[in-house]
């Protein structure tokens, strides 16, 4: 059963880590003002896996940017661990929608960048990078530059780089969008395993409802722009779940169907708009 709760209610995973408090953000363009998000109230507990879903352009990426401290809200505040986010939030690792790899570094160079920044010794760095390359299945492409990789491989490199620096909170913006079904499932399983075993807090953006239900503890459904929270739905699946068997789980199919009904009308409203 899908339980709909009022926005901002706490979750039982742990104590609150991120809080969006009456957050609005608008962009001043030369000829008009774009209101990206409006009055968002959301509280994310430590260790929680929260998925943001909504039509493109509703401000999901904007919310992640504010959590990372790259944007400042126009109104309201974002709090992280009780403190106002002001400037780069170093507790977060951000995998942006465009992978933003360094074009002048090969796969190994990109993944080891955060390790170099942290001052890890060369040997330790190489060992860790090799592990991560295995994890994301990029063996054989260690010396390829981003321009030589497919979209999916670039995403996997970006994910490995993110995991390399092991931040407390992961901000993931449509990380698996460019992957084929098989690989996506593998990465989802891996991400879920990592998030549980290392107790990571995750804000995950997707517009794939199946993915939202499969991964989330809670799904936050946004309205079209200006994005505000339409519903927050607890996922009725156990935290310890088997992603390969979900398709046959009636709870899972029921929740995806309900999310679909929530999203469907908004999809129609924004048909034809690019993200």
């Amino acid at each position: 059963m899908v339980s709909l709760q009022p926005a901002g209610s706490a979750h039982d995973t742990g104590h609150e880590l991120i809080r969006f408090e009456n957050v609005s953000k608008s962009f001043e363009l030369s000829d008009r003002t774009v209101r990206a998000v409006e009055n968002v109230n959301l509280s994310v507990a430590k260790g929680e896996f929260v998925v943001l879903v909504g039509p493109s352009g509703c401000g999901k990426s904007t919310l992640l940017n504010m959590a990372a401290g790259l944007f400042h809200p126009t109104n309201g505040e974002v709090y992280y661990a009780g403190k106002r986010v002001d400037g780069y939030n170093l507790k977060t690792g951000y995998m942006t929608q465009n992978d933003h790899l360094l074009p002048w570094r090969d796969v190994v160079g990109n993944i080891s960048t955060p390790l170099e920044i942290r001052g890890l010794a060369k040997g330790a760095r190489e060992a860790r990078v090799e592990q991560l390359i295995d994890l994301v299945g990029l063996q054989g492409f260690e010396r390829s530059y981003p321009s030589q990789l497919s979209g999916g491989m670039r995403k996997r490199t970006a994910l490995a780089r993110l995991l390399a620096y092991d931040p407390e909170t992961l901000l993931l913006d449509e990380p698996f969008a460019a992957l084929d079904a098989q690989l996506r499932l593998n990465m989802q399983i891996e991400l879920l395993r990592i998030s549980r075993s290392l107790n990571k807090t995750i804000l995950f953006v997707t517009h794939d409802l199946d993915e939202a239900v499969a991964l989330s503890d809670r799904s936050v459904v946004f309205s079209p722009r200006p994005g505000h929270i339409r519903h927050i739905a607890d996922t009725p699946l156990p935290r310890d779940r088997n992603l390969t068997a979900l398709r046959h789980d009636p709870l899972y199919t029921k929740m995806t169907a309900e999310l679909w009904d929530l999203i469907m009308p908004t999809l129609n409203e924004t048909r034809g708009e690019a993200s």
Binding site: Y88, N89, L102, Y145, A181
Partner: protein
């Protein structure tokens, strides 16, 4: 909606990569064929031009004006035999090289600093623009007064010309670095130096090299103009001497030597470019796809 929902299974990454490699190999063979064809046509064109020149000289136009390829090559041969040409080329090359090096180092450093410090850049903008619009050749007399007519004057002069070219390009390059990439690095906890080394400089290097490439001919201009004005050694001096003796073949021979130097310099910059930006040559060999 997931891909699975609409029954679409995209090709795997490895298949895509292999296919791309096959297409790149094919494209490389086509490029080699084209290069051979181009070179053959070029040799024929240049050979034809020299033949025409040789025929016209002394028949339609007096050798005093155009000399003749045979006379020019004899003169060059004589200079090579005596070793004169290497001495003068060496002087000019030293001046141009040192000027290029000094000017570009200062250009890169100042361009990077101003690129990362918008306030400073705004403050200095009108001053720099004013100096930039000054024809640098006009500074030569001042440098002669200050430094004299030795090799160091030519180096300073060349460095000044090169500085502005490299500085402006570096500055533009640094200003154009992706702000997102910089943010990503800061989010990883990087400090300013780490951001500079890993993002700003590699990103700006394309621009720096654009500046270096246009600086090569200018560095030779600097060295040779300096020699034309005040010197008894270097290719510029050789040029002045030949002109003073009404030795047209000598003037042409000196020009050939200058061109040879320019080709060597250009090649050096290109090799350096490929060495320092391995990801660039890959991108160029890349077929564009949408």
């Amino acid at each position: 909606m997931s891909n699975a929902d609409i029954g679409y299974v995209p090709a795997s990454d490895e298949m895509v990569a292999q296919d791309r490699k096959r297409r790149m190999d094919k494209a490389r063979r086509a490029r080699i064929r084209e290069r051979i064809k181009l070179n053959v046509i070029r040799v024929l064109m240049v050979g034809g031009f020299f033949a025409l020149w040789e025929i016209v000289s002394g028949r339609l136009i007096a050798p005093f004006f155009i000399s003749a390829p045979s006379a020019i090559f004899r003169r060059l041969g004589g200079w090579i035999w005596s070793g004169d040409i290497f001495y003068h080329m060496g002087i000019t090359a030293t001046e141009a090289c040192a000027g290029l090096l000094l000017g570009s180092i200062f250009g890169i450093v100042v361009g990077t600093i101003l690129g990362r410090r918008p306030f400073l850049a705004k403050l200095l903008d009108p001053i720099i623009t004013t100096f930039y619009s000054l024809p640098k050749v006009a500074l030569a007399p001042l440098f002669i007064l200050w430094i004299g007519i030795g090799i160091d004057m030519k180096i300073t002069f060349t460095a000044t010309i090169v500085f502005f070219l490299v500085f402006l390009n570096t500055y533009t390059g640094v200003r154009n670095v992706s702000r997102e990439l910089i943010s990503i690095l800061y989010l990883m906890g990087a400090n300013e130096m780490q951001v500079l080394r890993r993002v700003v400089l590699p990103s700006a290097i394309t621009w720096v090299f654009a500046g270096l490439r246009i600086s090569v001919p200018y560095s030779l201009i600097g060295a040779i103009v300096g020699e034309l004005m005040a010197s008894n050694k270097g290719l510029g001096a050789l040029l002045v001497r030949a002109q003073g003796e009404f030795d047209t073949a000598g003037v042409f021979a000196a020009l050939v030597a200058i061109m040879a130097l320019a080709v060597v310099f250009n090649t050096a910059v290109r090799v350096l470019e490929r060495r320092l930006m391995p990801w660039k040559s890959l991108e160029q060999g890349h077929e564009s796809a949408v």
